[in-house]
């Protein structure tokens, strides 16, 4: 009944594409990708702006261009991508149920699975903004898809809540398409987006960035007619008397991304409360044997270049698992978040593995200037890095030899000597 596959990859975004190619290059002959969209490429299809690939290809590409390089590679390797296919269920023993208009219900039995479903945007519901429920409130990514891929403009006068990179990018896109972007409103005292995007998407077009402000009310019955914006205090509570009204027909939300782990939960994969993604070892294997995870479903990335790198590890290791050639680790080193550090990935490092180097990444919890961060095992400092600035908008990544962790039960990644701004 069920089709047998060695490495089954869920999702044909940048993570799934890189993982599948790496699995095949590691010698696995039976690799397949399932994708729910009409075409591969994932979110990159709608990211038509430049800035991708500087690390990977040493040149600046747009999203579709970056994706195409990996789609071409997957095609060269003759890896089947089955689009318009929604995975409904994954069991801990790696049975996969999928459904598509062309093939109906399909059952797969995989030797290894790579979870590469990506993330989705936080919605209005998660923010609890008071007011009516008119049309015209979109997540920034939805607006991005409507404008860039489907040829619709969501509105003419726009306010953006949240200064994440997608919101900033959409401020420029909407301006280019003839809309007036009135303001970008950010709850925190700093933007969570890249500096370059603040400058080139807001400042270039004189769009004000209102830091420590939030939208306190949405007005309009059928369609958005305006929003009320107020300053917030240090506890992020609106300050009475600071309200200002913006007349607009559209509110875009760029207020955070959540890894999309419904399938992981069905497969009984334990998740980290910090990253909202699976807890993994350095091979990107979750705590369920044979189920691997990479890309934004594992933890939200800033740069696709690192998604590709991480996913190649997952794909390679999934191929090794399927071939039964994964060494059984005798011990693990646990990786803990220390002061100023959130969401270290991986959460544990095996004492044995085919790759000699192990990558650790994390997100700073706050803005720290002239800071040092370190990896510490008790009194012993394994690595020390100085940084002129650490910000939550820019995750940090380092590669270390596996040997350095041998015999160490636990390391802590932490910020020290900070001069908090």
């Amino acid at each position: 009944m069920s089709q047998e596959i060695d490495v089954l990859v869920i999702g044909a975004g940048p993570a799934g594409l890189a993982a599948a190619a790496a699995a095949r290059e590691a010698g696995c002959q039976s690799v397949m990708i399932l994708e729910r969209d009409d075409a591969p490429g994932g979110i990159l299809q709608q990211c038509i702006h430049p800035g991708f690939g500087l690390h990977r290809f040493k040149e600046e590409l747009t999203g579709p261009e970056y994706a195409q390089r990996f789609i071409d590679r997957v095609n060269e390797l003759q890896i089947p991508i089955q689009c318009r296919t929604m995975v409904l269920d994954i069991t801990p023993d790696r049975q996969v149920t999928a459904i598509s208009p062309e093939r109906g219900v399909q059952l797969f039995q995989a030797k290894a699975i790579v979870l590469a479903m990506g993330c989705r945007e936080r919605t209005r519901g998660a923010l609890m903004i008071p007011g009516t429920r008119p049309a015209g409130v979109y997540s920034a990514g939805t607006a991005q898809r409507l404008v860039n891929m489907e040829g619709f403009m969501p509105g003419k006068r726009v306010v953006i809540l949240g200064s994440g990179d997608i919101g900033l990018i959409m401020a420029r896109r909407m301006t280019f398409e003839g809309a007036k972007v009135l303001a970008c409103v950010e709850l925190m005292p700093f933007s969570s987006g890249l500096k370059r995007n603040v400058v080139q998407c807001l400042n270039d077009f004189d769009i004000p960035l209102l830091l420590s402000h939030t939208v306190t009310q949405i007005h309009g019955r059928e369609r958005v007619e305006g929003v009320t914006v107020a300053a917030v205090d240090e506890k992020r509570r609106p300050i009475p008397g600071t309200e200002q009204y913006f007349e607009c027909d559209t509110l875009l939300l760029s207020v955070g991304l959540i890894p999309e782990n419904e399938l992981s939960i069905k497969a009984k994969v334990p998740l980290s409360p910090v990253t909202s993604g699976p807890t993994v070892d350095d091979s990107m294997q979750t705590e369920v044997p044979g189920i691997f995870s990479c890309g934004n479903v594992l933890h939200v990335h800033d740069l696709v270049d690192y998604v590709s790198l991480e996913s190649e590890v997952a794909g390679r290791e999934a191929a090794r698992f399927a071939a039964g050639s994964t060494p059984v680790p005798a011990a693990y080193t646990l990786v803990k978040d220390g002061f100023g550090v959130r969401g270290c990935v991986p959460q544990r490092i095996r004492d044995a593995g085919a790759d000699e180097k192990v990558a650790i990444s994390f997100r700073p919890a706050d803005v720290y200037r002239n800071a040092t961060w370190q990896i510490r095992a008790g009194e012993n400092i394994l690595l020390k890095r100085r940084a002129m600035i650490l910000t939550p908008g820019e995750s940090q990544r380092v590669e270390l030899p596996r040997e350095q962790f041998k015999g160490i039960p636990e390391v802590t990644v932490e910020v020290v000597m900070e001069e908090k701004k």
Binding site: I48, P50, T62, P64, Q68, G151, K195, V199
Partner: protein
């Protein structure tokens, strides 16, 4: 101006000294000095945009093959409105050549 070289976002002040030499102050690294000079004298941007695709509802994404002067962004977008691309299109195909006398082409950034 704010430097975009890294998340520091140094506040740069760019002036000319008595000899007409450009002086960048406030940069904490060499990249900042280079950026400040370029941005003050000849700011440039790679422009990414959309162009209508004949017979299709969805647009085609394009970019300027090289950065163009910042002051010409909206002229370039205006020029693009007069163009219709025809499928099949491949990445790198020229959609509009010599945009507004810049010598730079708009090229396709997706295969459609």
């Amino acid at each position: 101006m704010i430097c975009i070289g890294c998340p520091m976002g140094c506040e740069l002040t760019v002036t000319k000294d008595a000899n007409g030499e450009i002086v960048v102050e406030g940069a904490t690294c060499g990249r900042g000095k280079t950026y400040g000079k370029q941005e003050a004298t000849a700011p440039e941007r790679t422009v990414t945009a959309l162009v209508a695709l004949e017979g299709k509802k969805r647009p085609l994404s394009v970019k300027t093959a090289k950065p163009i002067p910042k002051g010409k962004i909206f002229d370039a977008l205006e020029c693009l409105k007069t163009v219709r691309a025809k499928a099949p299109v491949k990445i790198g195909d020229v959609v509009l050549s010599d945009v507004c006398g810049t010598g730079v082409d708009f090229v396709a950034t997706e295969n459609l």
